[in-house]
Symmetry: C2
DNA sequence: CACAAATATCTTGGCGCCAAGATAACAGAC
DNA sequence: GTCTGTTATCTTGGCGCCAAGATATTTGTG
């Protein structure tokens, strides 16, 4: 198997800091670096459907919620891992683009309801298909069994974060 | 095995879009989400040694280069995956903090040499040890064999990116 | 040598993010 | 009903990033 960047990186560390065990990097640095590459892939895939990654994240959360594709900013916060100020700005821009609509909740007038427009729904549906097509391409090097093994191993690492409120 | 966020996410998609095969997400969304959690962990680990993640990235590249811990901004670009403008700003701030020094290259006066100071070396060495200690903790749920399997599978996915100049 | 192209770095402008605090509305105790 | 604390959202200020272009220097060609 050919060397990747992380192999070169750990080799350099072992040369400079032979007293340390840098093996944890072999797993975790690969996760971080792969994620950075995936970010770029996502950006490219969504761009073909006129969406930014952060736009997709919000629209997808609404789409997953099912009819009537409507959630409050507070619920969207939890799903997208951003702060409330960021979410306000996101909904502003999505509203300006006509991808979502925003209206005050009549029952609780502090609250707001963000709803997918028909245009928003079409956009996110198309973008999702593009994303999945590209992800299938990226995973082509792995057989079904390896994918299962990989996702199980990753779940083990993620679980402590998803359980505990980080 | 308990459900993680990605399990819930794919379940929601399968309910709303039963026509699509969302299984690629089971691998790649876990990679992205785990990476986000790791970012926070890194930030916390480095903060104990007075460093920001982006500071560590630059200092670590210089440290890995070995004596005399000196590289040009151009080389640092390649190692840290940021643009030249970003690197200029980073070196500015690191210089202001006394973690690196910057001087013009005498042989090629377009070029610059960024060198780790003694303070920078001490900082990055300490931060690295803290990072590794924390990473070992995060990997505690996995045996040696699983770690090997995981890093091999991840290498397979990363290699196409590291080879091709994306 | 002179000039065009390449190279290395820096500058500028704009965007998205977070942290912290401000605002508005609700809910419970009395 | 009124006060106090809580909740939901928005506003402000600052930071780090990128893209694109500017500047300075070197290299190659004739």
């Amino acid at each position: 198997m050919a060397q990747d960047e992380v192999d070169r990186l750990t080799e350099a560390w072992r040369h400079e800091r032979p007293d340390l065990d840098v093996s944890p990097m072999e797993v975790l640095s690969r996760v971080s670096r792969l994620a950075r590459h995936l970010d770029r892939e996502r950006r490219a895939a969504f761009a073909e459907h006129g969406l930014e990654p952060w736009e997709f994240d919000v629209l997808a959360a609404l789409r997953r919620a099912g009819e009537p594709y409507e959630l409050s900013p507070g619920v969207l916060l939890g799903q997208t891992l951003v702060t409330s100020g960021t979410m306000t700005a996101r909904v502003d821009k999505l509203t300006a683009r006509g991808l979502v609509s925003r209206r005050r909740d009549e029952d609780d007038r502090r609250a707001v309801r963000v709803r997918l427009t028909e245009f928003g729904k079409k956009s996110v549906d198309a973008a999702l298909e593009g994303l999945l097509a590209n992800e299938r391409r990226l995973l082509a090097g792995l057989g079904a069994e390896d994918r299962k093994r990989l996702s199980d191993l990753l779940r083990t690492l993620v679980l402590p974060f998803d359980d505990a409120p980080s």
